[in-house]
């Protein structure tokens, strides 16, 4: 008969460990170097249209910013919660129509005051996302995907059929600002960049908050998350609405920049494919993933669109790329690279430790190079 007492655990299991080191991921770049990288990236983006002022290039830049905002926004919901939406074009559409119609109905003078309407595109999209989200989020992940696309088509049909309000298939036009030449694209570009920075700050804030941790827990095991006291419905809805807001901003930007809104381009079924590919390629559910994905893929997509727009060839390329990425790097580029980097660092450290025996305390940090610790005797 064995009696158990608090102190019966083998001493080896309770070996004291340095507190601080345990909580830091030894292979993660420091806070400062990460912040520097972000600042450098956005400084480059800010300088871009000044260096490359050709309107054909800055126009691609504006579209890239639209995708950047939308991809970061989309990732806040779909990336963190694991609920993949392929119907966020609903909010792209609402953003476009809200801005176009408000400009029309309020007789907004073409120019800077039109741009001031763009945030309303986000707000209207977010407002629509509350009831729509409450309905769609009643179902779990796979069914949810199907419902999102269904909702998207419902709204597209509504936009076609409420012609008195939306202009139907003839679309709605926005009178372009009276700017000319190389500066025309700049305000749109910088509004997009500003919105992207805001989206990124929100995404970052969520990722490090208790709330965001709850979203990630929902992604991994929703029932368990609920069982640990997370209000799952509320958490999902908040993220859904936040992501709709940023996609709505992208829509508003599109409406004012392109100057025309049509149901099939506003509630565009391929829009979510484009966004999803960008986020998956970059790294679903990571902070830099959508940024990387959008900055690399949006210009390529835009270029293909300009070259072969009518043939929708770019969609075929996109579809193939999506499949290739899912098969080869299912976690996306950013997580895969960081995994490789970690294991490379770990093995390098191991080799260094083996080469220099730890005598005299002159050794630098010694960190376990993998899941070591309590051995369970091969139970797994």
């Amino acid at each position: 008969m064995t009696t158990l007492h608090a102190g019966t655990a083998p001493a080896e299991l309770l070996r004291p460990v340095e507190a601080e080191r345990a909580f830091r991921d030894p292979f993660e770049p420091s806070k400062r170097s990460r912040a520097t990288a972000w600042v450098a990236l956005f400084a480059l983006l800010a300088a871009f249209p000044i260096v490359f002022s050709n309107p054909a290039v800055t126009s691609i830049g504006v579209f890239t910013m639209m995708f950047l905002v939308a991809a970061i926004g989309w990732n806040i919901f779909s990336g963190y919660s694991g609920y993949v939406s392929i119907g966020h074009a609903v909010y792209y559409g609402f953003g476009q129509y809200a801005v176009a119609l408000l400009i029309e109905h309020w007789h907004v003078t073409p120019g800077a005051s039109e741009l001031a309407i763009i945030p309303l595109g986000g707000i209207v999209a977010a407002a629509v996302a509350v009831p729509v989200g409450l309905i769609l989020l009643r179902v779990r992940k796979h069914t949810f995907i199907v419902l999102t696309i269904a909702a998207m088509f419902i709204f597209q049909l509504l936009a076609f059929n409420f012609a008195g309000f939306t202009g139907g298939s003839a679309g709605t036009n926005v009178v372009s600002p009276p700017w000319t030449g190389t500066v025309f694209n700049l305000p749109f570009y910088y509004i997009g960049l500003g919105a992207a920075i805001l989206a990124l700050l929100v995404s970052w804030g969520i990722r490090r908050s208790k709330y965001g941790l709850g979203l990630l827990a929902i992604r991994d095991d929703e029932d368990r998350a609920k069982g640990l006291g997370i209000r799952v419905t509320r958490a999902k809805l908040i993220a859904y609405v936040a992501s709709a807001f940023f996609v709505g901003i992208a829509g508003g930007l599109y409406a004012t920049f392109v100057g025309a809104v049509y149901p099939q381009f506003a509630f565009d079924p391929t829009y979510d494919l484009a966004i999803a590919v960008m986020v998956f390629v970059g790294g679903l559910g990571t902070l830099p993933g959508p940024v990387l994905g959008a900055l690399v893929l949006a210009p390529i997509q835009q270029y293909f669109y300009i070259q072969f727009g009518a043939s929708t060839l770019y969609l075929i390329i996109y579809g193939i790329l999506f499949i290739v990425i899912l098969l080869t790097l299912p976690a996306g580029v950013v997580p895969s690279i960081s995994d490789r980097y970690r294991s490379w660092m770990a093995s390098r450290q191991r080799r260094r430790e083996e080469a220099t025996p730890t005598v005299g305390g002159a050794m630098p940090v010694t960190v376990p190079a993998g899941p070591v610790g309590i051995d369970d005797g091969g139970a797994r």
Binding site: T8, A9, L13, R231, P371
Partner: protein, 252 residues
């Protein structure tokens, strides 16, 4: 005082009567064992008690509060945490992140948007990780842990919320002997230092008999008998339920 009370609970899955009028009480501050052959309804009882399943009839009370129709988060907020027969951790979160999912969710609306890794919370999670001996793996993805380590992590995830009661479903399953000894020590320590009540479903008789103050035996969805380990071990009905297995043999 009885912290957990189950009264005449029934639960059927199609033709299978998983719980058939099960009544049981678990006293506050005690380490309770819950044993019984496979399929006798132990896991189902846990599910009903913690809101993961709804009883067909009967009632469940936690410290006097009726939780028969409560949801898992409501039961959890009453201070009843549980683990699962098949471990449920969040595989793509790190070990520390796993801990913080459960910790301190009572600060109201705004606190939700504060950092999960505040210094005070770090101290607490360090304490808990030290307690279960997983500190070295803090920054590792939970899915990379071995099964036994995941069992410990799941235990720690509940523990960090300082529940009044912890319901452990086969904590020793797939865990090697030295780790099991460690786990038993942790349970005993928590019970003595924090007064945590335990209900432990376990097939390892040595583990159960050595650890528990009281043992309840389930058979075919009912409570067969309950009492001190010594009494239960020699109960003829229990021997019968275990199909003639001599418990004295098993427990020796």
């Amino acid at each position: 005082m009885n912290l957990l009370e189950v009264d005449e609970v029934t639960k059927a899955y199609g033709g299978i009567q998983a719980l058939a009028g099960c009544s049981m009480t678990f006293e506050e501050g005690k380490i309770n064992g819950l044993i019984g052959p496979n399929g006798s309804g132990k896991t189902t009882l846990f599910n009903v008690m913690t809101g993961y399943e709804r009883a067909d009839s009967g009632s469940v009370h936690v410290a006097g509060t009726d939780v028969t129709a409560a949801s898992p988060d409501q039961v959890f907020s009453l201070g009843v945490g549980r683990t699962f027969q098949l471990t449920r951790i969040f595989p793509r979160l790190t070990v520390v992140e796993n801990l913080h999912v459960a910790s301190q969710r009572d600060g109201g609306w705004m606190s939700e948007f504060s950092r999960w890794s505040s210094p005070s919370e770090k101290v607490r999670s360090k304490e808990v990780l030290d307690f279960v001996g997983l500190t070295r793996l803090a920054a590792e993805k939970a899915g990379n842990l071995s099964y036994g380590q995941q069992k410990l992590l799941e235990f720690a995830c509940i523990m960090i919320a300082r529940p009044k009661a912890m319901l452990l479903d086969e904590p020793a399953g797939g865990v090697n002997p030295s780790l099991l000894l460690h786990l038993g020590g942790r349970i005993k320590a928590l019970n003595e230092e924090e007064g945590t009540t335990f209900v432990i479903v376990e097939h390892d008789m040595e583990f159960v008999m050595g650890l528990c103050d009281k043992v309840s035996v389930m058979h075919q969805g009912r409570c067969l008998c309950a009492g001190e380990p010594e009494t239960v071990r020699s109960d003829p009905a229990v021997l019968e339920a275990y199909l003639g297995t001599d418990m004295r043999e098993v427990a020796r």
